[in-house]
Amino acid sequence: MSHDNIAFHRKHMLPEAPPPVTETGAIKWLRENLFSSIPNGILTVVSAYVVLTIAMAAAPWFFNGVWDSPSLSACREMLDGRTGACFAVLTERWNQLLFGFQYPSRLYWRPTLAFVLLFVAIAPVLFIKYTPRGLLVLTGLYPFIAYWLIWGGSIVVPVVALLGVLFGAFVYRRTMTASAGVAVIAGIVAAMVFWWAAGAVTAGLSGVMALEPVASRDMGGFMINLMLGVICVSLSLPFGILLALGRQSSMPIVKWICVAFIEFIRGVPLITLLFVANVVLAYFLPPGTTFDLILRVIIMITMFASAYIAEVIRGGLAALPRGQYEAADSLGLDYAQSMQLVILPQALRISIPGIVNVAVGLFKDTTLVSVISMFDIVGMIRGPILASTEWNGVYWELFGFAALLFFITCYGISQYSQWLERQLQTDHR
């Protein structure tokens, strides 16, 4: 081979060519993924055997299931020795599983309607790009409507609450130009004053457009889990953001308060906080004040979740390059603007998996309220249903059903969050 002719120059640039056509299809997939080597093949066969065995055992239990029977013993008679589930407990106690055992059955339509409206209310938030901005009004009105539907009572209460919020927001807007911090405090104070004044004025109006009131202690079932989950997640997100920003603040007092709060809450088990809500909190309140148990639980779970979300968001904030802060600063954006327009949209996007993780965990943790004698779905199963003479001993069906409800919800949240992440992916890495 001679070396004297290495000079070369290309006369034509090569066109882009398609990849070589090799075998494709199911056979190729199987060979590559399931039987690529001998150990892999053995594992495939063993796994298939295990999956099949479990499925074979579960199938008759599931398909022989009895859906209509008044009690476990009647159900066993119907099965007549065959393996089979007693799903009848689900149909017979359906309403108890969903609404608890004390919610008046003629009023079931109210929480059901609130549940349906929930989807109308959160759709504009979840699919903000694809729904008109105006629909967000529905989201804003929803908490007040849902409160009225679920707890009943005069419509004056939620209307006053709504007006108080609007008044507070108005005062906030008006004082915004002075300083954001002052404006927040002014807004809160204005809302409080409004509620206090309006409460006195409307005291005699408790009969106006009144729905039959239902007390918190009469609520139960999966409804409680959903209520706590939705309320606490939606409250803990804004609080978490504020705590995360507060923790980064250059003002030492704000920073210390946030750090102390986060570290304290994270260091304490949720169940302890729930006991505090249930028992201890009463000692700190003035005698005679009745403080709704659900409200106390909401406050505790929200505090708990906020601390976790704050830490997740802090991670997102820390992941942003300093240049983003500097670019926002150099354009003359003030603190609130740079956070709202530049920093948080990016930090929150990074934090989505973590936030969803906390939200899903929180939703499942709402079953812990069963230990402070609230009859959520787990409380209902362990208490009134399993303790009844008809259904004593039906474990798999009931807990399986509860697990299924939670799985559907949590899987849905998870799928949504992954979709959202793809939507917000603009950096094309």
């Binding site: 670019a327 354009l331 954006l333 603009t426 890495r429």
Partner: protein, 255 residues
């Protein structure tokens, strides 16, 4: 100072820095900086890395705080007052080494963000201004893309357009071409040259000595946090006075 008067392009003072000092902890980064920038001047700041040149221009829009001395920008004395700082920042444009575009916003949104929120310009008008400057930096067709879809040179030109949309009276450039592939440097420099020709007051930290020769009317050489030498580019490159400057020039022009 005959040289100083000769270098002026107008009598109006844009930036005045008097005996400015800055420390990072115990490290004395900037020492007794005195610098007067006249309206319409194009100043190139050169020097070895760690000499404090970036820190100097970052002090001008308060991205870095100085501990001693006085900085006056456009007649406003830089103080700790946040309103004051925000006002100066909205008058002073800045272009960064790593572009620092906002990746979650389109090119157009990047350019209209500050005019809409800081200047309260109506959206339609802000978009017109943005398109004007995007056309000027020759990428109006990319307006609806995201920064991640653009090349480095294009991103840096967007960054320049984004600053210009605020109609700044002074532009600061912090090594605008250092993070670019060689093929893209010239497109950014061309944009900067065009800007200079329109009479923008510019302070550029850069290693592009060709740019300095062509555009600057003053070159400042810094070392160890001090201004070591400043002169017109011809004199600066052909007849450097200090030993340190000579060494620096021989190193960067040696190849």
């Amino acid at each position: 100072m005959a040289a100083e008067t000769q270098m002026k392009v107008s009598d109006e003072v844009a930036i005045e820095i008097v005996k400015m000092n800055k420390w990072y902890g115990a490290f004395h980064v900037l020492r007794d900086i005195d610098l007067t920038v006249y309206r319409g001047e194009r100043i190139v700041i050169a020097g070895p890395s760690g000499s404090g040149k970036s820190t100097l221009i970052r002090c001008i829009n308060a991205l870095e705080e100085h501990q001693k001395g006085k900085i006056t920008v456009d007649g406003t004395v830089l103080s700790n007052d946040i309103k004051n700082i925000d006002r100066i920042r909205s008058e002073v444009g800045m272009v960064f080494q790593h572009f620092n575009l906002f990746p979650h916003l389109t090119i157009l949104e990047n350019c209209t963000l500050a005019p809409i929120w800081v200047r309260k310009t109506p959206k339609r008008e802000a978009e017109e201004i943005a398109m004007h400057f995007l056309t000027k930096v020759k990428i109006p067709e990319q307006a609806d893309k995201y920064p991640g879809q653009l090349s480095g040179g294009q991103q840096q030109r967007v960054a320049i357009a984004r600053s210009l949309c605020m109609k700044p009276r002074i532009m600061l450039f912090d090594e605008p071409t250092s993070a670019l592939d060689p093929e893209m440097i010239s497109e950014v420099l061309d944009t900067m040259i065009e800007l200079a020709e329109e009479g923008m007051t510019m302070l550029c930290v850069t290693h592009e000595m060709g740019f300095a020769r062509k555009v600057a009317n003053r070159v400042i050489f810094m070392d160890q946090g001090q201004i070591v030498e400043q002169n017109e580019p011809e004199e600066f490159f052909n007849n450097p006075q200090s030993e340190r400057t000579k060494l620096f020039l021989s190193q960067i022009l040696g190849h």
